[in-house]
């Protein structure tokens, strides 16, 4: 069995734009937020969903899209989610958050994977959005 590749952008791009009560800021960020960048290169979609579901079971207070999105965007300057900066800046910020999570010990084991809390939240969001 070869390592399966995450479908990445193609899949996310195919999804309808999520309709949120929290406003356009979150809607624009959603697609980038849902993609755990590093993990998506290492495993497949089904695994990301299972990880996401495991996180939601473990942290029921963060089991909905709005809460997860807010958590992921915490301390994110509004400019990072504006159209003009695009996905790249947000991805960079998320990457920094992920590394900071690892450095500060905000690490979870989900489905055996040692992941940062930020990644786990991304997986959780993905598991909600792509049912």
């Amino acid at each position: 069995m070869e390592r399966r590749h995450f479908l990445g952008y193609a899949l996310v791009a195919a999804l309808p734009t999520p309709m949120l009560g929290c406003g356009n800021r979150h809607a624009r960020a959603d697609q980038t937020l849902q993609l755990p960048q590093a993990l998506s290169q290492l495993t497949d979609e089904a695994t990301v969903r299972r990880i996401g579901k495991a996180y939601r079971n473990q942290v029921p207070l963060e089991a909905d899209r709005e809460t997860l999105t807010n958590r992921l965007l915490e301390a994110t300057p509004a400019a990072f989610v504006s159209r003009s900066f695009g996905k790249a800046m947000l991805r960079t910020l998320l990457d920094l958050k992920i590394r900071r999570d690892f450095k500060d010990g905000r690490i979870l084991v989900l489905e055996g994977w040692l992941l940062s809390q930020t990644e786990a939240r991304q997986c959780a969001l993905y598991s909600l959005v792509t049912v």
């Binding site: 069995m1 070869e2 590093a38 290169q41 690892f102 055996g112 994977w113 040692l114």
Partner: protein
């Protein structure tokens, strides 16, 4: 000189100055140190020059507790001993392995690492190793293509291994032993009993038997047990006709604290960009040196964990390799023949070429120290072997500390992989629940038998003292890894040879012989 003890007239008396019981790595290393001395050295080997089923059968015994390998195939009973099927892995024990650690009950050696350093250096040529240098920086400078994973060395460091070819002591040193004028090698000379004075404080002689029905007596000034951890303990316990508890066993320590290295695939490392694995690669007969991931001593102390290392095994499929304990042969002969076949292929140039050096997926394989546990032990069975000696039973027992140490090790590696941004670690299923202290049936070990006649200053806590002298019996010594109070993270062969060389120097001092002070 060499004599097949089956050919001697029964009840022969053999006499010498130093009697070494067992001709494996420890026994042969010790005997070689006594070549060309004025002393008569008797080297007793229970088997012959080739592995035989009938001889391996003498090692058969029961195992209880955690699943273990067959005793009759995990150790070899012929001249050269278990070097007949070892893979050549050599590394020094770390300074922390010798220290008393508050979080590791029964830890601490009566000697420090520095006491063994000169003997490690002397052991290197015996094992056909490179320079006595285990500093990673030395090896990286020698070969700049070796690239360590970019981890914080204060959190996850690297430990260096060197590889013996592997040296088969039975092949390499046979002629030297046989041709040494002052060494008498007896094959098919199984020691089944030690006879002492009435108080059990002096070994007068040992009884030797073989399957040809011959029995002999060996007398010497000094006796050294150099069997292996199971056989050394077995012999002391079985020598209970004068001292009911067995020899060296006034405080019920003989056979206890049996230790292994837990060896098991524990996780996978997935890299976002393939990386060179050259530093971590091992190919039998080819690799001279490699590194394994390790935990710095300060971190072990901070986290109260045991010493352990992780090797990286590249793979191209996301599939777990078979567990070694499921595939290890039941027969000692089979293990030897497997290596002989590999060597034949290699010598003919038929060994597959070294694998490509860039991989993105690795199995992570743990070698973890076992905490000294008195309940993990060798005892005597009621069943006797064909020579009438009680068989050994091994009860292998682990503690939660081993599993917590393995899990913590991978938490650190996973953290470092995340911080470095190079990839992620995925644990195997039996490691995922931190509250679960159970072990899987697939848990393996390294065939590293240690601890059953452990060293300690006090006879209440150990069997031998700092000079490997059995407490209370001045002319009886033990050589080998059965003397280790703790097992470290490294394979034991280099350390047991070093400790044996140290014992040799001590025996020479007792007999007023000059010792080697330089390599």
């Amino acid at each position: 000189m060499y004599i097949d003890a089956r050919t001697l007239e029964t009840n022969s008396l053999i006499e010498g100055d130093l009697c070494i019981i067992g001709a494996g790595a420890a026994g042969i290393s010790l005997a070689l140190e006594w070549q060309n001395t004025p002393y008569r050295v008797i080297l007793l080997e229970g088997g012959g020059f080739d592995v035989e089923t009938a001889m391996q059968e003498l090692y058969r015994g029961n195992t209880t507790g955690q699943r273990y390998y067959p005793l009759q195939s995990s150790r070899l009973h012929y001249f050269g001993g278990t070097t007949g099927h070892w893979a050549g892995f050599c590394a020094t024990f770390d300074p922390i392995d010798f220290r008393r650690r508050d979080w590791v009950p029964n830890s601490g050696w009566p000697i420090g690492r520095e006491a063994l350093d000169p003997f490690y250096a002397r052991a290197h040529p015996l094992l056909d190793l490179g320079p006595y240098n285990y500093d990673l920086r030395y090896w990286l400078d020698k070969d700049p293509s070796l690239t360590p994973l970019p981890f914080d060395e204060q959190m996850v460091t690297h430990k260096v291994w060197q590889f013996s070819p592997p040296t088969r002591f039975g092949t390499k040193y046979r002629d030297a032993i046989i041709n040494a004028k002052n060494i008498q090698l007896y094959t098919y000379a199984n020691v089944t009993r030690l006879d002492t004075d009435e108080q059990g404080r002096h070994v007068r002689q040992v009884r030797v038997k073989n399957l040809a029905g011959k029995e002999h007596t060996v007398r010497a000034t000094y006796f050294v047990l150099a069997g292996c951890a199971i056989q050394n303990a077995r012999l002391l316990l079985a020598s209970n006709h004068q001292v009911p508890k067995g020899l060296g066993n006034d405080y019920d320590k003989v056979g206890r604290y049996f230790m292994e290295h837990l060896e098991v695939t524990s996780a996978d490392l997935f890299l976002t960009t393939p990386a060179s694995n050259q530093l971590y690669l091992w190919q039998y007969f080819v690799t001279k040196m490699r590194a394994e991931l390790a935990i710095p001593e300060k971190k072990q102390e901070e986290l109260s964990i045991l010493n352990g290392t992780v090797s990286l095994w590249p793979k191209t499929e996301d599939k777990q390799p078979p567990a070694m304990i499921d595939t290890f042969p039941d027969s000692g002969e089979a293990t030897v023949r497997k290596w002989e076949l590999r060597e034949q292929h290699y010598n003919k140039g038929e060994t597959p070429k070294a694998a490509p050096t860039q991989y993105a997926m690795f199995s992570l394989f743990t070698r973890m120290e076992q905490a000294p546990n008195p309940a993990s032990r060798v005892t005597l069975d009621r069943e006797q072997d064909a020579l009438g000696m009680p068989r050994a039973t091994l009860h292998w027992e682990l503690t939660p500390l081993e599993k917590r140490s393995i899990r913590t090790l991978y938490d650190l590696i996973g953290q470092q992989a995340g911080i470095a941004g190079i990839g992620r670690v995925r644990l195997v299923d039996w490691l995922r629940d931190e509250q679960d202290t159970s072990w899987p049936e697939t848990l393996g070990a390294g065939w590293h038998h240690m601890g059953t006649t452990r060293m300690h200053h006090s006879p209440k806590e150990g069997v031998v003292d700092a000079n490997c002298n059995v407490h209370g019996i001045p002319n009886l010594f033990v050589a080998g890894s059965s003397c280790f109070p703790t097992g470290g993270a490294a394979n034991p062969t280099l350390t047991l040879v070093a400790l044996t060389l140290r014992l040799s120097d001590h025996l020479k001092q007792l007999l007023n012989q000059p010792t080697r002070t330089t390599v």
